[in-house]
Protein backbone atom coordinates (compact mmCIF):
# COMPACT_ATOMS: atom_id res chain seq x y z
CA UNK A 1 0.00 0.00 0.00
CA UNK A 2 1.40 3.40 -0.88
CA UNK A 3 1.96 6.01 1.78
CA UNK A 4 -0.78 8.22 0.36
CA UNK A 5 -3.41 5.51 0.60
CA UNK A 6 -2.35 4.77 4.15
CA UNK A 7 -2.70 8.38 5.18
CA UNK A 8 -5.87 9.28 3.38
CA UNK A 9 -8.69 7.43 5.03
CA UNK A 10 -9.73 8.29 8.54
CA UNK A 11 -13.44 7.47 8.56
CA UNK A 12 -15.34 9.45 11.04
CA UNK A 13 -18.65 9.34 12.86
CA UNK A 14 -20.46 12.59 12.31
CA UNK A 15 -22.52 13.90 15.16
CA UNK A 16 -25.44 16.27 15.43
CA UNK A 17 -24.89 19.99 15.88
CA UNK A 18 -27.00 21.27 18.77
CA UNK A 19 -26.48 24.35 20.88
CA UNK A 20 -23.04 25.00 19.40
CA UNK A 21 -21.79 21.56 20.43
CA UNK A 22 -21.59 18.23 18.66
CA UNK A 23 -23.57 15.74 20.76
CA UNK A 24 -24.16 12.14 19.69
CA UNK A 25 -27.75 11.23 19.13
CA UNK A 26 -29.40 10.31 22.39
CA UNK A 27 -30.40 6.98 20.82
CA UNK A 28 -26.85 5.95 19.98
CA UNK A 29 -28.04 4.79 16.55
CA UNK A 30 -26.32 5.61 13.31
CA UNK A 31 -26.47 4.77 9.64
CA UNK A 32 -23.77 4.32 7.04
CA UNK A 33 -23.18 6.81 4.29
CA UNK A 34 -21.66 5.31 1.19
CA UNK A 35 -20.00 7.03 -1.70
CA UNK A 36 -21.44 6.63 -5.16
CA UNK A 37 -19.00 3.77 -5.85
CA UNK A 38 -20.07 1.96 -2.70
CA UNK A 39 -17.23 2.88 -0.36
CA UNK A 40 -18.05 3.54 3.28
CA UNK A 41 -17.71 7.31 3.70
CA UNK A 42 -18.91 7.98 7.20
CA UNK A 43 -21.31 7.07 9.98
CA UNK A 44 -24.11 9.53 10.60
CA UNK A 45 -26.48 9.87 13.55
CA UNK A 46 -30.02 8.50 13.35
CA UNK A 47 -31.68 11.12 15.52
CA UNK A 48 -34.83 10.57 17.55
CA UNK A 49 -37.56 12.38 19.40
CA UNK A 50 -35.29 13.38 22.25
CA UNK A 51 -32.72 14.92 19.93
CA UNK A 52 -35.49 17.10 18.55
CA UNK A 53 -36.61 17.97 22.07
CA UNK A 54 -33.09 19.00 23.08
CA UNK A 55 -32.61 20.99 19.89
CA UNK A 56 -35.89 22.86 20.36
CA UNK A 57 -34.91 23.67 23.92
CA UNK A 58 -31.58 25.27 22.98
CA UNK A 59 -33.06 26.92 19.92
CA UNK A 60 -35.71 28.57 22.07
CA UNK A 61 -33.07 29.80 24.49
CA UNK A 62 -30.94 31.26 21.73
CA UNK A 63 -33.70 32.87 19.70
CA UNK A 64 -34.38 36.13 21.55
CA UNK A 65 -30.76 37.19 21.77
CA UNK A 66 -30.23 36.44 18.07
CA UNK A 67 -33.27 38.50 17.13
CA UNK A 68 -32.12 41.34 19.37
CA UNK A 69 -28.69 41.63 17.83
CA UNK A 70 -28.27 44.62 15.60
CA UNK A 71 -28.94 44.03 11.94
CA UNK A 72 -25.37 45.11 11.29
CA UNK A 73 -24.00 42.43 13.62
CA UNK A 74 -26.28 39.74 12.18
CA UNK A 75 -25.04 40.65 8.73
CA UNK A 76 -21.43 40.39 9.86
CA UNK A 77 -22.01 36.97 11.34
CA UNK A 78 -23.78 35.61 8.26
CA UNK A 79 -21.04 37.04 6.05
CA UNK A 80 -18.50 35.29 8.24
CA UNK A 81 -20.13 31.97 7.36
CA UNK A 82 -19.41 32.70 3.70
CA UNK A 83 -15.80 33.52 4.50
CA UNK A 84 -15.21 30.28 6.38
CA UNK A 85 -17.10 28.19 3.83
CA UNK A 86 -15.09 29.76 1.06
CA UNK A 87 -11.88 28.70 2.78
CA UNK A 88 -13.05 25.10 2.96
CA UNK A 89 -14.79 24.86 -0.39
CA UNK A 90 -12.45 22.20 -1.78
CA UNK A 91 -13.36 19.84 1.03
CA UNK A 92 -17.04 20.38 0.25
CA UNK A 93 -16.51 19.88 -3.46
CA UNK A 94 -14.66 16.63 -2.79
CA UNK A 95 -17.47 15.43 -0.57
CA UNK A 96 -20.09 16.26 -3.18
CA UNK A 97 -18.07 14.45 -5.84
CA UNK A 98 -17.77 11.37 -3.67
CA UNK A 99 -21.57 11.43 -3.43
CA UNK A 100 -21.89 11.35 -7.21
CA UNK A 101 -21.76 14.99 -8.25
CA UNK A 102 -19.73 15.84 -11.33
CA UNK A 103 -16.82 18.15 -10.65
CA UNK A 104 -18.53 20.97 -12.53
CA UNK A 105 -21.81 20.69 -10.63
CA UNK A 106 -20.03 20.40 -7.29
CA UNK A 107 -18.12 23.61 -7.99
CA UNK A 108 -21.29 25.31 -9.12
CA UNK A 109 -23.14 24.33 -5.96
CA UNK A 110 -20.37 25.71 -3.76
CA UNK A 111 -20.18 28.92 -5.75
CA UNK A 112 -23.94 29.35 -5.51
CA UNK A 113 -23.97 28.53 -1.80
CA UNK A 114 -21.31 31.10 -0.96
CA UNK A 115 -23.01 33.66 -3.18
CA UNK A 116 -26.35 33.00 -1.47
CA UNK A 117 -24.87 33.50 1.98
CA UNK A 118 -23.36 36.83 0.99
CA UNK A 119 -26.64 37.83 -0.61
CA UNK A 120 -28.64 37.18 2.56
CA UNK A 121 -25.97 38.76 4.76
CA UNK A 122 -26.82 41.93 2.90
CA UNK A 123 -30.52 41.60 3.68
CA UNK A 124 -30.27 41.85 7.48
CA UNK A 125 -30.31 45.65 7.60
CA UNK A 126 -32.72 46.01 4.71
CA UNK A 127 -35.69 43.95 5.89
CA UNK A 128 -37.14 46.76 8.01
CA UNK A 129 -36.34 49.39 5.41
CA UNK A 130 -37.97 47.53 2.57
CA UNK A 131 -40.78 45.65 4.29
CA UNK A 132 -41.46 47.80 7.33
CA UNK A 133 -43.99 50.56 6.78
CA UNK A 134 -45.34 53.81 8.08
CA UNK A 135 -49.08 53.51 7.64
CA UNK A 136 -51.53 56.31 6.90
CA UNK A 137 -54.30 56.34 9.53
CA UNK A 138 -57.29 58.62 10.07
CA UNK A 139 -56.47 59.59 13.65
CA UNK A 140 -53.68 61.41 15.43
CA UNK A 141 -51.34 58.53 15.53
CA UNK A 142 -47.98 57.77 14.11
CA UNK A 143 -48.67 54.24 12.91
CA UNK A 144 -45.87 51.95 11.87
CA UNK A 145 -45.33 48.26 11.20
CA UNK A 146 -42.14 46.32 11.65
CA UNK A 147 -41.15 42.76 10.88
CA UNK A 148 -40.39 40.46 13.79
CA UNK A 149 -39.13 36.90 14.04
CA UNK A 150 -41.67 34.11 14.37
CA UNK A 151 -39.44 32.14 16.77
CA UNK A 152 -38.16 28.58 16.49
CA UNK A 153 -38.36 27.11 13.00
CA UNK A 154 -37.92 23.51 11.94
CA UNK A 155 -36.67 22.71 8.45
CA UNK A 156 -36.72 19.51 6.48
CA UNK A 157 -33.89 19.99 4.03
CA UNK A 158 -34.51 18.47 0.61
CA UNK A 159 -32.63 15.31 -0.41
CA UNK A 160 -30.67 17.37 -2.95
CA UNK A 161 -28.87 19.69 -3.55
CA UNK A 162 -27.10 18.62 -0.38
CA UNK A 163 -25.86 22.02 0.74
CA UNK A 164 -27.67 24.62 -1.32
CA UNK A 165 -31.10 23.13 -0.58
CA UNK A 166 -30.60 23.45 3.16
CA UNK A 167 -29.03 26.92 2.93
CA UNK A 168 -31.96 28.18 0.89
CA UNK A 169 -34.14 27.31 3.89
CA UNK A 170 -31.74 28.40 6.61
CA UNK A 171 -30.64 31.83 5.37
CA UNK A 172 -34.04 33.58 5.17
CA UNK A 173 -34.69 32.31 8.68
CA UNK A 174 -31.42 33.66 10.01
CA UNK A 175 -32.18 37.03 8.47
CA UNK A 176 -35.71 36.90 9.91
CA UNK A 177 -34.28 36.52 13.42
CA UNK A 178 -35.41 32.94 13.95
CA UNK A 179 -33.45 30.07 15.40
CA UNK A 180 -33.37 27.00 13.20
CA UNK A 181 -33.36 23.24 13.49
CA UNK A 182 -32.51 21.53 10.21
CA UNK A 183 -32.98 17.86 9.42
CA UNK A 184 -30.31 17.16 6.83
CA UNK A 185 -30.76 15.25 3.60
CA UNK A 186 -30.68 11.55 4.42
CA UNK A 187 -28.82 10.24 1.39
CA UNK A 188 -26.48 13.22 1.01
CA UNK A 189 -26.06 14.15 4.68
CA UNK A 190 -22.32 14.58 4.66
CA UNK A 191 -21.97 18.16 3.33
CA UNK A 192 -24.39 19.53 5.92
CA UNK A 193 -22.56 17.67 8.69
CA UNK A 194 -19.38 19.36 7.57
CA UNK A 195 -21.24 22.65 7.27
CA UNK A 196 -21.94 22.39 11.01
CA UNK A 197 -18.18 22.66 11.50
CA UNK A 198 -18.25 25.83 9.41
CA UNK A 199 -21.02 27.29 11.56
CA UNK A 200 -19.21 26.35 14.73
CA UNK A 201 -16.18 28.40 13.68
CA UNK A 202 -17.97 31.41 12.27
CA UNK A 203 -19.35 33.41 15.21
CA UNK A 204 -22.90 32.07 14.88
CA UNK A 205 -24.15 32.08 18.48
CA UNK A 206 -24.73 28.62 19.94
CA UNK A 207 -28.25 27.32 19.39
CA UNK A 208 -29.21 29.70 16.57
CA UNK A 209 -28.63 26.97 14.01
CA UNK A 210 -28.96 23.30 14.89
CA UNK A 211 -28.44 20.41 12.53
CA UNK A 212 -29.77 16.89 13.02
CA UNK A 213 -29.39 13.89 10.75
CA UNK A 214 -31.69 10.93 10.43
CA UNK A 215 -34.78 9.59 8.74
CA UNK A 216 -37.44 12.18 8.06
CA UNK A 217 -40.21 9.59 8.46
CA UNK A 218 -39.09 9.05 12.05
CA UNK A 219 -38.70 12.71 12.90
CA UNK A 220 -41.48 14.65 11.18
CA UNK A 221 -44.14 13.53 13.67
CA UNK A 222 -42.19 14.78 16.66
CA UNK A 223 -41.46 18.04 14.90
CA UNK A 224 -45.06 18.82 14.03
CA UNK A 225 -46.46 17.89 17.44
CA UNK A 226 -43.97 20.02 19.35
CA UNK A 227 -45.83 23.02 20.75
CA UNK A 228 -42.67 25.12 20.99
CA UNK A 229 -41.90 24.98 17.28
CA UNK A 230 -43.44 28.03 15.61
CA UNK A 231 -42.98 27.25 11.95
CA UNK A 232 -41.93 24.46 9.65
CA UNK A 233 -40.32 24.67 6.25
CA UNK A 234 -40.28 21.77 3.86
CA UNK A 235 -39.72 21.16 0.20
CA UNK A 236 -42.43 20.04 -2.25
CA UNK A 237 -40.31 17.03 -3.31
CA UNK A 238 -41.09 15.50 0.08
CA UNK A 239 -43.26 12.37 -0.15
CA UNK A 240 -47.03 12.80 -0.15
CA UNK A 241 -47.41 10.99 3.20
CA UNK A 242 -44.94 13.29 4.93
CA UNK A 243 -46.46 16.41 3.42
CA UNK A 244 -49.84 15.26 4.65
CA UNK A 245 -48.42 14.60 8.12
CA UNK A 246 -47.01 18.12 8.12
CA UNK A 247 -50.26 19.72 7.02
CA UNK A 248 -52.37 17.86 9.56
CA UNK A 249 -49.94 17.98 12.48
CA UNK A 250 -49.12 21.67 12.12
CA UNK A 251 -52.62 22.58 13.18
CA UNK A 252 -51.72 21.57 16.77
CA UNK A 253 -50.41 25.00 17.68
CA UNK A 254 -51.12 26.68 14.35
CA UNK A 255 -47.57 26.38 13.14
CA UNK A 256 -46.77 28.25 10.01
CA UNK A 257 -46.07 25.69 7.35
CA UNK A 258 -44.34 26.67 4.13
CA UNK A 259 -43.23 24.60 1.21
CA UNK A 260 -40.29 26.30 -0.44
CA UNK A 261 -39.08 24.79 -3.68
CA UNK A 262 -35.43 24.48 -2.71
CA UNK A 263 -34.81 20.89 -3.72
CA UNK A 264 -34.76 18.16 -6.27
CA UNK A 265 -34.16 14.43 -6.30
CA UNK A 266 -30.70 12.92 -6.12
CA UNK A 267 -31.17 11.53 -9.63
CA UNK A 268 -31.80 14.99 -11.04
CA UNK A 269 -28.45 16.13 -9.63
CA UNK A 270 -26.78 13.31 -11.52
CA UNK A 271 -28.64 13.87 -14.79
CA UNK A 272 -29.34 17.60 -15.12
CA UNK A 273 -27.41 18.93 -12.13
CA UNK A 274 -26.08 22.07 -13.75
CA UNK A 275 -29.37 23.58 -14.82
CA UNK A 276 -31.09 22.45 -11.61
CA UNK A 277 -28.50 24.21 -9.44
CA UNK A 278 -28.57 27.28 -11.63
CA UNK A 279 -32.33 27.54 -11.24
CA UNK A 280 -32.14 26.86 -7.51
CA UNK A 281 -29.54 29.55 -7.02
CA UNK A 282 -31.87 32.04 -8.67
CA UNK A 283 -35.10 31.08 -6.93
CA UNK A 284 -33.39 30.89 -3.53
CA UNK A 285 -32.78 34.64 -3.69
CA UNK A 286 -36.41 35.35 -3.03
CA UNK A 287 -36.53 37.92 -0.20
CA UNK A 288 -40.24 37.28 0.34
CA UNK A 289 -39.28 34.01 2.00
CA UNK A 290 -37.99 36.16 4.87
CA UNK A 291 -41.52 37.48 5.30
CA UNK A 292 -42.92 33.94 5.38
CA UNK A 293 -41.13 33.38 8.67
CA UNK A 294 -41.79 36.73 10.27
CA UNK A 295 -44.69 38.40 11.97
CA UNK A 296 -45.77 41.99 11.61
CA UNK A 297 -46.06 44.16 14.67
CA UNK A 298 -47.99 47.40 14.21
CA UNK A 299 -47.65 50.20 16.74
CA UNK A 300 -50.01 53.13 17.23
CA UNK A 301 -48.11 56.02 18.72
CA UNK A 302 -50.21 59.05 19.74
CA UNK A 303 -49.08 62.38 18.35
CA UNK A 304 -50.35 65.89 19.00
CA UNK A 305 -52.70 67.50 16.48
Amino acid sequence: MSREQELLIIPKTYKNYVGGAFPRTESGRYYKLNSVDGKHLANVCLSTRKDIRNAVQVARKAQASWQNRTAYNQGQIIYRIAEILSGRRHQFEAELESLGYSKEVAQLELESAIDLIVYFAGWTDKVQQVFGAVNPVASHHFNFSRQEAVGVVGMLAPEAPALLGALAMLLPNMVAGNSSIIIASEKLALPLCTFAEVLETSDVPAGVVNILTGKKEELVGHFVSHMDVDALIADPTLSFELRKELEVGSTSNLKRLHFWATGCTVDEIHSTGKSVIENMAKSAKDPYRILDVQEVKTTWHPISE
Partner: protein
Amino acid sequence: MILDRIPIDAIGVQERVDRICSRSIKKESKLQALDLALRMMDLTTLEGSDSAGKVRQLCNKAMHPYTELPNIPSVAAVCVYPNRVKLAKEILKDSAINVASVATAFPSGMSSLEIKLDDVRYAVQEGADEIDMVISRGAFLSGDYALVYDEIAQIKEACAHAHLKVILETGELGSLEHVRMASDLAMEAGADFIKTSTGKIQPAATMPVVLVMLQAIRDFHHKTGKTIGMKPAGGIRTSKQAIQYLVMVKEILGEKWLTPDLFRFGASSLANDVLMQWVKEKTGRYQSLNYFSND
Protein backbone atom coordinates in the same frame (compact mmCIF):
# COMPACT_ATOMS: atom_id res chain seq x y z
CA MET B 1 -25.61 20.81 73.80
CA ILE B 2 -22.72 18.87 72.35
CA LEU B 3 -22.26 19.35 68.65
CA ASP B 4 -20.44 16.53 66.91
CA ARG B 5 -18.17 17.32 64.03
CA ILE B 6 -19.12 14.61 61.61
CA PRO B 7 -16.64 14.21 58.79
CA ILE B 8 -18.22 14.08 55.33
CA ASP B 9 -16.66 12.24 52.42
CA ALA B 10 -17.40 14.75 49.66
CA ILE B 11 -16.35 12.37 46.87
CA GLY B 12 -18.48 9.59 48.30
CA VAL B 13 -21.43 11.97 48.50
CA GLN B 14 -20.96 12.98 44.88
CA GLU B 15 -20.78 9.34 43.79
CA ARG B 16 -23.97 8.54 45.65
CA VAL B 17 -25.64 11.56 44.03
CA ASP B 18 -24.48 10.39 40.61
CA ARG B 19 -25.97 6.96 41.21
CA ILE B 20 -29.25 8.49 42.35
CA CYS B 21 -29.36 10.74 39.29
CA SER B 22 -29.06 7.76 36.98
CA ARG B 23 -32.42 6.25 38.03
CA SER B 24 -34.86 6.21 35.17
CA ILE B 25 -38.37 7.35 36.12
CA LYS B 26 -40.75 7.22 33.17
CA LYS B 27 -44.40 7.04 32.18
CA GLU B 28 -46.76 6.09 35.05
CA SER B 29 -44.15 6.49 37.76
CA LYS B 30 -43.13 9.82 36.28
CA LEU B 31 -46.73 11.02 36.46
CA GLN B 32 -46.88 9.93 40.07
CA ALA B 33 -43.65 11.76 40.82
CA LEU B 34 -44.89 14.90 39.07
CA ASP B 35 -48.10 14.77 41.07
CA LEU B 36 -46.11 14.47 44.26
CA ALA B 37 -43.69 17.24 43.27
CA LEU B 38 -46.56 19.60 42.60
CA ARG B 39 -48.24 18.80 45.90
CA MET B 40 -44.91 19.42 47.67
CA MET B 41 -44.27 22.78 46.12
CA ASP B 42 -43.92 26.05 47.96
CA LEU B 43 -44.75 28.47 45.18
CA THR B 44 -42.47 31.36 45.95
CA THR B 45 -42.21 35.02 45.12
CA LEU B 46 -39.60 36.98 47.04
CA GLU B 47 -38.89 40.11 45.07
CA GLY B 48 -38.72 43.64 46.34
CA SER B 49 -41.10 44.47 43.50
CA ASP B 50 -43.83 42.01 44.55
CA SER B 51 -47.13 43.77 44.03
CA ALA B 52 -50.52 42.79 45.39
CA GLY B 53 -51.42 41.72 41.86
CA LYS B 54 -48.46 39.40 41.61
CA VAL B 55 -49.29 37.75 44.93
CA ARG B 56 -52.90 37.38 43.87
CA GLN B 57 -51.85 35.76 40.62
CA LEU B 58 -49.48 33.43 42.46
CA CYS B 59 -52.17 32.38 44.92
CA ASN B 60 -54.57 31.63 42.11
CA LYS B 61 -51.92 29.58 40.40
CA ALA B 62 -51.32 27.74 43.67
CA MET B 63 -54.99 26.76 43.85
CA HIS B 64 -55.47 26.03 40.17
CA PRO B 65 -52.11 25.31 38.58
CA TYR B 66 -53.57 24.33 35.22
CA THR B 67 -57.28 24.35 34.66
CA GLU B 68 -57.27 22.60 31.30
CA LEU B 69 -56.50 19.20 32.78
CA PRO B 70 -58.58 17.64 35.53
CA ASN B 71 -56.91 16.08 38.57
CA ILE B 72 -54.03 18.52 38.74
CA PRO B 73 -53.45 18.97 42.48
CA SER B 74 -52.84 22.31 44.13
CA VAL B 75 -49.48 23.11 45.70
CA ALA B 76 -48.56 22.88 49.38
CA ALA B 77 -47.95 26.50 50.20
CA VAL B 78 -47.34 29.98 48.90
CA CYS B 79 -44.19 31.66 50.18
CA VAL B 80 -44.12 35.46 50.41
CA TYR B 81 -42.64 38.35 52.38
CA PRO B 82 -44.35 39.22 55.71
CA ASN B 83 -46.19 42.27 54.39
CA ARG B 84 -47.92 40.13 51.74
CA VAL B 85 -49.03 37.40 54.14
CA LYS B 86 -52.40 38.96 54.94
CA LEU B 87 -53.37 39.26 51.32
CA ALA B 88 -52.24 35.72 50.50
CA LYS B 89 -54.07 34.34 53.51
CA GLU B 90 -57.24 36.10 52.47
CA ILE B 91 -57.16 34.67 48.97
CA LEU B 92 -56.27 31.17 50.16
CA LYS B 93 -58.62 31.03 53.13
CA ASP B 94 -60.97 28.47 51.57
CA SER B 95 -58.20 26.23 50.35
CA ALA B 96 -55.89 23.82 52.13
CA ILE B 97 -52.88 25.77 50.94
CA ASN B 98 -50.64 27.17 53.65
CA VAL B 99 -49.09 30.59 53.61
CA ALA B 100 -45.40 30.57 54.38
CA SER B 101 -43.53 33.74 55.14
CA VAL B 102 -39.84 34.42 55.21
CA ALA B 103 -38.86 36.39 58.28
CA THR B 104 -35.91 37.25 60.54
CA ALA B 105 -34.37 39.94 58.34
CA PHE B 106 -34.48 37.71 55.28
CA PRO B 107 -32.29 37.04 53.31
CA SER B 108 -29.13 38.10 55.17
CA GLY B 109 -30.31 37.82 58.77
CA MET B 110 -28.08 40.76 59.61
CA SER B 111 -30.15 42.42 62.31
CA SER B 112 -30.74 42.29 66.05
CA LEU B 113 -32.61 39.41 67.65
CA GLU B 114 -35.41 41.75 68.76
CA ILE B 115 -36.07 42.85 65.23
CA LYS B 116 -36.00 39.25 64.02
CA LEU B 117 -38.47 38.20 66.69
CA ASP B 118 -40.74 41.12 65.85
CA ASP B 119 -40.54 40.17 62.20
CA VAL B 120 -41.66 36.63 63.05
CA ARG B 121 -44.45 37.76 65.37
CA TYR B 122 -45.70 40.17 62.72
CA ALA B 123 -45.82 37.45 60.08
CA VAL B 124 -47.58 35.02 62.44
CA GLN B 125 -50.05 37.71 63.43
CA GLU B 126 -50.81 38.41 59.80
CA GLY B 127 -51.73 34.75 59.47
CA ALA B 128 -48.63 32.88 58.34
CA ASP B 129 -48.85 29.11 58.84
CA GLU B 130 -45.17 28.57 58.26
CA ILE B 131 -42.14 30.73 59.00
CA ASP B 132 -38.94 30.44 56.97
CA MET B 133 -36.13 31.92 59.07
CA VAL B 134 -32.48 32.42 58.20
CA ILE B 135 -29.67 31.52 60.58
CA SER B 136 -26.90 33.98 61.40
CA ARG B 137 -24.25 32.60 59.09
CA GLY B 138 -21.66 35.06 60.37
CA ALA B 139 -22.06 33.79 63.93
CA PHE B 140 -22.10 30.17 62.77
CA LEU B 141 -18.93 30.52 60.72
CA SER B 142 -17.11 32.28 63.56
CA GLY B 143 -17.95 29.35 65.82
CA ASP B 144 -20.60 31.03 67.94
CA TYR B 145 -22.92 28.05 67.77
CA ALA B 146 -24.63 28.87 71.07
CA LEU B 147 -25.86 32.16 69.63
CA VAL B 148 -27.25 30.48 66.55
CA TYR B 149 -28.91 27.82 68.71
CA ASP B 150 -30.47 30.38 71.03
CA GLU B 151 -31.76 32.44 68.13
CA ILE B 152 -33.46 29.45 66.57
CA ALA B 153 -34.93 28.38 69.91
CA GLN B 154 -36.33 31.83 70.61
CA ILE B 155 -37.72 32.22 67.14
CA LYS B 156 -39.36 28.82 67.44
CA GLU B 157 -41.06 30.11 70.55
CA ALA B 158 -42.17 33.27 68.74
CA CYS B 159 -43.67 31.12 65.98
CA ALA B 160 -46.30 29.75 68.37
CA HIS B 161 -48.47 27.42 66.28
CA ALA B 162 -46.66 28.18 63.01
CA HIS B 163 -44.23 25.65 61.60
CA LEU B 164 -40.62 26.73 61.58
CA LYS B 165 -38.34 26.15 58.62
CA VAL B 166 -34.71 26.99 59.25
CA ILE B 167 -32.75 28.22 56.24
CA LEU B 168 -29.08 27.28 56.53
CA GLU B 169 -28.03 29.17 53.38
CA THR B 170 -25.65 26.38 52.48
CA GLY B 171 -24.10 28.44 49.70
CA GLU B 172 -22.44 30.52 52.38
CA LEU B 173 -21.43 27.71 54.73
CA GLY B 174 -18.38 26.66 52.75
CA SER B 175 -18.22 22.91 53.31
CA LEU B 176 -20.42 19.85 53.67
CA GLU B 177 -19.16 19.43 57.25
CA HIS B 178 -20.59 22.85 58.04
CA VAL B 179 -23.85 21.92 56.36
CA ARG B 180 -24.11 18.80 58.49
CA MET B 181 -23.27 20.70 61.65
CA ALA B 182 -25.74 23.48 60.93
CA SER B 183 -28.44 20.90 60.19
CA ASP B 184 -27.84 19.12 63.49
CA LEU B 185 -27.82 22.44 65.31
CA ALA B 186 -31.07 23.62 63.74
CA MET B 187 -32.86 20.36 64.50
CA GLU B 188 -31.64 20.31 68.10
CA ALA B 189 -32.84 23.90 68.50
CA GLY B 190 -36.37 23.04 67.43
CA ALA B 191 -36.67 23.35 63.66
CA ASP B 192 -39.65 21.60 62.08
CA PHE B 193 -38.00 21.78 58.67
CA ILE B 194 -34.48 22.46 57.55
CA LYS B 195 -34.12 24.34 54.29
CA THR B 196 -31.08 24.79 52.07
CA SER B 197 -31.19 28.32 50.80
CA THR B 198 -32.82 31.68 50.48
CA GLY B 199 -32.58 31.56 46.69
CA LYS B 200 -30.65 34.83 46.79
CA ILE B 201 -27.19 33.26 46.99
CA GLN B 202 -25.49 31.02 44.42
CA PRO B 203 -25.08 28.09 44.65
CA ALA B 204 -28.53 27.44 46.11
CA ALA B 205 -29.84 23.89 46.56
CA THR B 206 -27.42 21.31 45.20
CA MET B 207 -27.83 17.55 45.40
CA PRO B 208 -24.75 16.85 47.56
CA VAL B 209 -25.87 19.44 50.11
CA VAL B 210 -29.38 18.03 50.22
CA LEU B 211 -28.02 14.52 50.58
CA VAL B 212 -25.99 15.54 53.62
CA MET B 213 -29.01 17.31 55.13
CA LEU B 214 -31.20 14.26 54.57
CA GLN B 215 -28.63 12.08 56.30
CA ALA B 216 -28.67 14.49 59.21
CA ILE B 217 -32.46 14.19 59.39
CA ARG B 218 -32.20 10.39 59.28
CA ASP B 219 -29.64 10.28 62.08
CA PHE B 220 -31.67 12.74 64.15
CA HIS B 221 -34.70 10.53 63.69
CA HIS B 222 -32.76 7.46 64.85
CA LYS B 223 -31.48 9.36 67.83
CA THR B 224 -34.62 11.12 69.02
CA GLY B 225 -37.54 9.57 67.15
CA LYS B 226 -38.53 13.00 65.82
CA THR B 227 -39.33 13.46 62.16
CA ILE B 228 -37.97 16.68 60.71
CA GLY B 229 -38.90 17.94 57.25
CA MET B 230 -36.62 18.99 54.41
CA LYS B 231 -36.95 21.81 51.92
CA PRO B 232 -34.47 22.32 49.12
CA ALA B 233 -34.96 25.78 47.62
CA GLY B 234 -33.46 27.76 44.81
CA GLY B 235 -32.07 26.51 41.53
CA ILE B 236 -34.55 23.64 41.07
CA ARG B 237 -36.07 24.50 37.73
CA THR B 238 -36.80 21.25 35.94
CA SER B 239 -39.02 18.28 36.66
CA LYS B 240 -36.05 16.03 36.10
CA GLN B 241 -34.18 17.65 38.98
CA ALA B 242 -37.28 17.50 41.17
CA ILE B 243 -37.72 13.79 40.49
CA GLN B 244 -34.08 13.15 41.31
CA TYR B 245 -34.61 14.84 44.66
CA LEU B 246 -37.63 12.65 45.30
CA VAL B 247 -35.58 9.55 44.52
CA MET B 248 -32.98 10.74 46.98
CA VAL B 249 -35.54 11.32 49.74
CA LYS B 250 -37.02 7.89 49.19
CA GLU B 251 -33.63 6.17 49.25
CA ILE B 252 -32.28 7.96 52.30
CA LEU B 253 -35.31 8.64 54.46
CA GLY B 254 -37.84 6.22 53.07
CA GLU B 255 -41.42 6.51 51.94
CA LYS B 256 -42.58 8.14 55.15
CA TRP B 257 -40.97 11.39 54.05
CA LEU B 258 -42.65 11.43 50.64
CA THR B 259 -45.41 13.73 51.79
CA PRO B 260 -45.90 17.49 51.66
CA ASP B 261 -45.80 17.48 55.46
CA LEU B 262 -42.18 16.43 55.45
CA PHE B 263 -40.74 17.47 52.12
CA ARG B 264 -41.11 20.67 50.13
CA PHE B 265 -39.64 22.27 47.05
CA GLY B 266 -39.06 25.99 47.26
CA ALA B 267 -39.35 27.14 43.68
CA SER B 268 -40.98 29.54 41.30
CA SER B 269 -40.25 28.35 37.77
CA LEU B 270 -40.38 24.63 38.64
CA ALA B 271 -44.18 24.63 38.68
CA ASN B 272 -44.43 25.45 34.99
CA ASP B 273 -41.92 22.79 34.05
CA VAL B 274 -43.79 20.16 36.07
CA LEU B 275 -47.03 21.20 34.39
CA MET B 276 -45.41 21.08 30.96
CA GLN B 277 -44.09 17.57 31.62
CA TRP B 278 -47.48 16.54 32.94
CA VAL B 279 -49.28 17.71 29.85
CA LYS B 280 -46.60 16.08 27.73
CA GLU B 281 -47.19 12.73 29.44
CA LYS B 282 -50.94 13.08 28.96
CA THR B 283 -50.98 14.34 25.37
CA GLY B 284 -47.69 13.13 23.93
CA ARG B 285 -46.90 16.62 22.76
CA TYR B 286 -43.91 18.57 23.99
CA GLN B 287 -45.16 21.82 25.44
CA SER B 288 -44.29 25.46 25.09
CA LEU B 289 -44.09 28.02 27.90
CA ASN B 290 -46.38 30.19 25.79
CA TYR B 291 -49.33 28.20 27.07
CA PHE B 292 -48.57 28.44 30.80
CA SER B 293 -48.99 31.46 33.01
CA ASN B 294 -45.88 33.42 33.92
CA ASP B 295 -46.40 33.48 37.68
